[in-house]
């Protein structure tokens, strides 16, 4: 890759995209560059010039921020006002070999959410507005600086998770929420996969308001409680009754460290050569999937989202065991998060779509990027 385009203003960005006659790879800081299929681009479009907070109004629960702003800066600013991004953005730099947790724009483009996703929703549930330039070089905006809005199509959701294939985002408006006053984690040991998922399901069906439910095989089931202190301790006792087991409690500090490791899938960072999948399924399907795969492959895994999210590490192979992984579940989706470039070019990184849906996705791509200039091929062939 040779040329680097680095626009300094939205107008310049629009001009550059309109004038581009070669495909462009859209880059924030490059932290998630190796996520998705490799892009065949002749130049890169560096969005790191779009930085800074445009408006932060804690009492309105609103943050309007330029897309190239480092996520770490945003999180520390929110923290100072006792707020947070409730979907718990992960930092996959150790997994993907990047540096730093990337930019807000990159986070939104990839729709990444951590353990609290099962209670608070995904990144896409917190994106209220966007400004950007389409692949046709057209400026556009959607959404607004209010938390409740149904005016026109929900373009912010459409752009969230589009991996830079529709538009280059210049700024995003996010819903920010109060951070919990305290947290505590209950650890339960001695479960097999099925028992672990059952326990997490029982906890999630209770009134305990669990904000994180994960299972590290051979280690423990972790259930996180957050809120004001009297409520947390009440719900901890309730959890013991619901699960009919003695429970072990981790204090706030070690609880936070544990969940950061789960959020970032840290246990998989040590084997960089092993392909890593992230599978989203109905939680009750998780144990069966692992049972089927264990017979055929030497795997390591972790359940998050009460079993609804399986992190799966498979032995190195040219096709990342794609066929086995995809055959292991009936409905849901599997994404190849980490694999060598040649593998990501050869296999479907994202879940293949049925023909009518694939055709519709293609038409949506055309609606934004008729010349296929932005990150072509990042998600699917031609998209």
């Amino acid at each position: 890759m040779s040329a680097v385009l680095k626009p300094a203003s939205i107008a310049e960005l629009a001009e550059m995209i309109a004038a581009a006659d070669v495909p462009l790879e859209v880059i924030g800081t490059g932290s998630k560059r190796h996520l998705g299929r490799p892009v065949q681009a002749a130049a890169s479009l560096d969005m790191s010039g779009f930085t800074g907070v445009i408006a932060y109004e804690p009492e309105e629960l609103i943050l309007d921020v330029a897309a190239g702003t480092p996520l770490a800066d945003v999180e520390s600013m929110l923290g100072q006002r006792g707020q947070q991004l409730a979907f718990e953005p992960p930092d996959w730099s150790a997994l993907l070999g990047g540096t730093g947790s990337g930019t807000v724009g990159g986070l939104v483009a990839c729709n990444l959410s951590g353990p609290r996703r099962l209670k608070a929703g995904a990144a896409r549930d917190h994106v209220l507005g966007i400004h950007g330039v389409t692949g046709a070089g057209d400026l556009f905006k959607a959404g607004a600086r209010v938390v409740k809005n149904v005016t026109g199509y929900d373009m912010p959701k459409l752009l969230t998770g589009s991996h830079g294939t529709l538009a280059a985002l210049t700024s995003v408006i996010l819903k920010v929420l109060p951070a919990p006053e305290t947290e505590e984690t209950v650890a339960l040991t001695g479960f097999d996969d099925a028992q672990a998922v059952d326990a997490m399901s029982l906890a999630m069906q209770s009134a305990c308001e669990v904000s994180g439910a994960a299972y590290v095989p051979g280690e423990a089931v972790y259930l996180r409680l957050e809120g004001i202190a009297p409520s947390v301790s009440y719900r901890r006792d309730l959890l013991g009754k619901v699960l009919k087991r003695p429970i072990e409690v981790m204090a706030a500090r070690s609880s936070a460290a544990r969940w950061k490791a789960i959020r970032d899938a840290a246990m998989f960072a040590e084997n960089p050569r092993h392909p890593l999948w992230r599978i989203s399924v109905a939680p009750s399907a998780a144990p069966g999937i692992i049972r089927r795969l264990k017979d055929r492959l030497d795997i390591r895994y972790l359940f998050d989202w009460a079993g609804g999210l399986i992190w799966l590490e498979v032995p190195p192979s040219p096709d990342a065991s794609e066929a086995l992984v995809r055959a292991s579940f009936a409905s849901g989706h599997a994404t190849l998060i980490r694999a060598p470039e040649a593998t990501r070019a050869a296999v479907d990184v994202f879940q293949p779509q049925a023909p009518a849906l694939a055709a519709l996705s293609g038409r949506v791509k055309e609606a934004f990027d008729p010349r296929h200039i932005l990150n072509p091929g990042r998600m699917y062939r031609g998209i």
Binding site: A122, Y234, R235
Partner: protein, 496 residues
């Protein structure tokens, strides 16, 4: 009055043939063409507008929906989907040359899956029926529009409906996990399911709130939640809306997200009190109901904190509910606000702008001035937590001039919302009601981009045309690469 696209006379002439073709797909009573029988479908919750459809079809299976749409698509016939017809923005208003596709017969709960905390239902199931189906196990479906006994989950998805609890629990979009839908071509697709985060483009997100313009929803998977253990409310009267607004901001700044936080202004308080006798204070300018829900210890703790914050903001009166009866009494007035206003005026229209909360005093002030200008009364109920205003404009529809003034008053209120950084609609949708105001919020470029998305779903523009977008464009004209130089743009497209 708003105008609709000029009907295609040719389709109207072919009504009998079209009805016969539909009858071949949906036999028996599923096709209605007699005008008296079609009356039931001529309007929705925006009752000032009425139009008999070309023909009504009430399919019962996804295959029938698919065949109806394919027939319509092949023959260039417009289609208006309909749930229960409670839309307040005219989203389900029929077209004289269009098929009305009623989804009421899709009324079954298909699967309740407690282990995975979700329910799979057909789109004609009412919002409340979902909660009814799971409440014996302590579960509920969180979004609770006031129309929940009547409105359907399909309509909720199409409008991305909210309710008084959506600050804490989210709108429809945040509680739907998956759908099955039929494209206008008749193709059936699935987006999401019992798992989280459908992959590829978030078409589920786009469908939610798309007002029947992108496809017909034939199945919905929703998230169900365990009911909070308890709820208590505090009822606070304030000498000014500024004080009430500041109290709301301070509650949120204190890190508290209440289950519900509703405000009423003086006219709404009086109308409600006269109607239900909830013992509301009458000599205050604003009344705030803050409801906390969750475990008892948490609720007791937070209600104290909210009360302290209210006192610090010059609360004139303050009551904390001490029993479930008292909590429900606090809500009784708020919940009856619409019918209460209906008692003091022959007609009213309900507006639905959202504003940044801190601009509330100036918006209320502006509304008072507009009320004098248009010589019509207005009462305000307000989802205060999320800035969603529901001004109720009082008028008499028998007086054509009053209807006209009411509509202009409503439009001016929404312009004011946009001017202070807000939006045209927080939960009721654009429909026909706010269609012509879209340019207040969006540039031509913004709207063109939304219409290109429409074209990706419905290239012939057959699904619910005349709604949401102020001007109809042909898709070919929106795809700038296809526009031939020298051609007069949109010459033959009527503007309306």
């Amino acid at each position: 009055m708003l105008t609709m696209p000029v009907p295609d006379e040719d389709k109207i002439r072919r009504r009998a043939a079209i009805a016969a073709a539909l009858r071949a797909i949906v036999p028996g009573e599923g096709v209605i063409e007699a005008p008296v029988e079609m009356r039931a479908f001529e309007t929705d919750g925006l009752t000032a507008y009425r139009q008999l459809p070309l023909v009504v079809v009430l399919p019962e299976t996804t295959e029938q929906v698919s065949a109806v749409l394919k027939y319509a698509h092949d023959n260039g016939i417009k289609v208006v989907p309909r749930g229960a017809g409670t839309s307040l923005s005219g989203g389900a208003l029929p077209l004289a040359d269009g098929i009305l596709l009623g989804m009421a017969k899709f009324n079954r709960v298909l699967d309740i899956d407690y282990a995975n905390r979700c329910a799979v239902v057909q789109p004609g199931v009412t919002n409340l029926a979902i909660t009814r189906a799971v409440e014996h196990r302590g579960f509920y479906y969180a979004p609770d529009p006031s129309s929940q006994i009547a409105c359907t989950i399909g309509g909720n998805v199409a409008e991305n409906s909210g309710g008084v609890h959506c600050l804490k629990y989210g709108l429809t979009a945040n509680n739907v996990l998956g759908i099955e839908m039929v494209l206008v071509t008749g193709e059936v697709i699935r987006l999401g399911g019992k798992h989280l985060d459908s992959e590829g483009y978030d078409l589920l997100g786009v469908m939610t709130g798309s007002e029947g313009l992108l496809g017909v929803v034939t199945e919905v998977t929703v998230r169900i939640l365990q009911k909070p253990e308890t709820a208590r409310a505090v009822l606070v009267g304030f000498p000014s809306s500024e004080d009430a607004g500041q109290c709301v901001a301070d509650v949120i700044s204190a890190g508290i997200i209440p289950g519900g936080m509703e405000m009423m202004d003086r006219p709404a308080i009086h109308a409600a009190e006269d109607f239900v006798h909830a013992d509301y204070p009458l000599d205050v300018e604003a009344l705030l109901i803050v409801e906390l829900d969750g475990p008892q210890v948490e609720v007791d703790h937070l209600i104290e904190r909210v009360s302290e914050i209210a006192q610090a903001n010059k609360a004139a009166t303050l009551r904390i509910s001490t029993s479930e009866e008292e909590r429900l009494l606090f809500w009784a007035g708020r919940k009856a606000a619409f019918p209460a206003v209906g008692r003091i005026s022959p007609d009213y229209i309900c507006m639905d702008g959202t504003i940044p909360r801190k601009r509330l005093p100036e918006v209320l002030q502006g509304m008072a001035e507009l009320s004098r200008l248009h010589r019509l009364r207005v009462a305000n109920v307000f989802h205060a937590g999320d800035g969603n205003l529901h001004p109720l404009i009082l008028f008499d529809a028998n007086d054509a001039d009053e209807l006209d003034r009411a509509e202009q008053f409503g439009a001016d209120i929404l312009r004011l919302c946009v001017k202070v950084g807000g939006v045209l609609t927080g939960e009721h949708g654009v429909g026909i009601e706010k269609r012509d105001l879209m340019p207040e919020m969006f540039t031509e470029g913004d709207l063109a981009q939304q219409m290109r998305v429409k074209c990706a779903f419905d290239g012939k523009g057959l699904l619910n045309p005349g709604k949401v977008f102020p001007t109809l464009h042909r898709c070919a004209e929106l795809g700038r690469v296809h526009v031939k130089a020298g051609q007069l743009p949109f010459a033959d497209i009527p503007r309306f």
